[in-house]
């Protein structure tokens, strides 16, 4: 059993781009589960369903949940309360990493930390997992925290203080973005449109709907093919 934990970004990205069917196809070719936490569900269904502009997108995501493509943590017998508690712990650590202007900076929120919390729970259960996330802060914090320090200090034109020791445990998380999922779908002939141009178009589509991928990385993906 393997699990992909979805943050809101990739789901919204696929929905806005009309590519949710890719998720469904990927799920069929995958020996495991696609899981979304309650906090993420709020961001992709419960809140946008009340915003006319995003209502249809939210309903499409709800349809994926109804079909069992996206499942709640309870599908793995994981209690939502455990995730909430672990999320709070991780959020407390992450939001005490950067100190600037006389205060600790709240850099991440409960949806993102719920994905990390679920990953920790799955690790305890020896279930291999990956987090699909498009926003950059959580990924940078885990994979290269010094870059986050640089982003913030460059932006505010001042040095910021960091507590590096606090976030050592974040380095164990693994991440992909909607961009890499689209690449994988292409390699598995699941894009629905044939040809190299389709790959290029789909990669750019993810970028222009918020996947934190650089143009350089897209060029590298095109060359990998």
């Amino acid at each position: 059993m393997k699990v992909i934990i979805f943050d809101a970004g990739p789901i919204i990205n696929f929905s806005i781009n009309g590519m949710l069917d890719i998720l469904e196809s990927l799920k069929k070719s995958f020996n495991g589960k696609f899981i979304i936490t309650d906090a993420v569900k709020k961001e992709v269904v419960d809140n946008p369903i009340n915003v006319p502009r995003f209502e249809l997108g939210a309903l499409r995501v709800q349809a994926l949940i109804n079909k069992g493509v996206l499942e709640p943590p309870s599908a793995l017998n994981i209690d939502g309360e455990i995730i909430k508690k672990e999320s709070q712990r991780l959020m407390n650590i992450a939001n005490h990493y950067i100190f600037s202007r006389g205060t600790w900076v709240n850099i991440i929120s409960d949806g993102e930390t719920s994905c990390l919390a679920l990953s920790n729970e799955l690790n305890k259960m020896k279930i291999e997992n990956i987090i699909a996330i498009d926003e950059r802060t959580t990924r940078i914090l885990s994979e290269k925290p010094e870059n986050l320090q640089k982003i913030i200090s460059d932006k505010i034109h001042a040095n910021v203080k960091v507590q590096l020791s606090n976030i050592e445990e974040f380095s164990s998380f693994r991440f992909v973005r909607s961009t890499e999922l689209v690449y994988l779908a292409y390699k598995k002939n699941l894009l629905g449109i044939p040809g190299k141009k389709a790959l290029e178009a789909a990669l750019y589509a993810t970028k222009f709907k918020g996947s934190s991928v650089t143009f350089e990385e897209i060029e590298e993906l095109k060359k990998l093919n």
């Binding site: 393997k2 809101a8 970004g9 919204i12 990205n13 806005i16 990927l26 995958f30 961001e43 809140n47 946008p48 915003v51 502009r53 995003f54 950067i98 600037s100 202007r101 006389g102 205060t103 900076v105 709240n106 850099i107 991440i108 929120s109 409960d110 949806g111 993102e112 291999e128 498009d134 926003e135 950059r136 802060t137 990924r139 940078i140 994979e143 290269k144 870059n147 982003i151 913030i152 932006k155 505010i156 034109h157 693994r174 991440f175 992909v176 890499e180 999922l181 994988l184 970028k207 222009f208 709907k209 918020g210 934190s212 991928v213 143009f215 350089e216 990385e217 590298e220 993906l221 990998l224």
Partner: protein, 188 residues
């Protein structure tokens, strides 16, 4: 707010007032970014609201001839009075009163004219999205930023996707070949 920040805010409010009187939308756009650092790090409601107000004022000025806003001069007078009161509150070190005047200024913007209520709402919403994208660029996560500005991640993702937020060296945290290899092996 420390003394330096208070002084900076007072100067900024005075410049906002002057720019509003002279219909200087470019200066207002510039001023609207000056509180972004504080809005990103301290995440205080006053800084966030102020940056939204100033950006919205710039947008109203840009379109005031097209919109033919009735009683524009009265609105400017009312807004500037609130900005004066906010300055006075800061000078007296009364942060509660300062917050109240800033929130009143936002309400005044929202209720500028009954015929423009919907349009005002749209301008303020766009101001929130624009400022959210700046805060996201400061290294704050997508969800945290959306929550601070009271918008959805759907709006923020669409907007930031069209900016250069992702195209920085710091965004690259792993070799792309390695990430794909990890994902392909994970799917096997």
């Amino acid at each position: 707010m420390d003394k330096e920040e208070v002084q900076h805010t007072i100067t900024m409010l005075k410049e906002t007032k002057q720019s509003l009187l002279t219909n200087n939308s470019l200066k207002l756009l510039e001023l609207s970014n000056q509180k972004i650092h504080s809005a990103s790090c301290v995440q205080d409601i006053e800084s966030i609201t102020l940056t939204i107000i100033i950006y919205s004022l710039a947008k109203f000025i840009e379109r005031r001839n097209i919109l033919k806003i009735k009683h524009w001069n009265n609105f400017v007078k009312k807004m500037n009075l609130l900005l004066d009161l906010a300055v006075s509150a800061l000078e007296k070190d009364n942060s509660k009163a300062y917050q109240d005047y800033i929130l009143k200024a936002k309400s005044s913007l929202e209720s500028m004219s009954p015929s423009l209520k919907q349009y005002a709402k749209e301008i303020i919403r766009n101001a929130c999205i624009n400022k959210a994208s700046h805060i996201y660029k400061h290294g704050i996560s997508m969800e945290q930023t959306a929550k601070l500005l009271g918008i959805t991640q759907w709006e923020l993702l669409e907007y930031t996707g069209l900016t250069k937020a992702a195209d920085t060296n710091q965004n690259r945290t792993m070799n792309e070949k390695s990430r794909i290899k990890m994902l392909v092996e994970f799917f096997e």
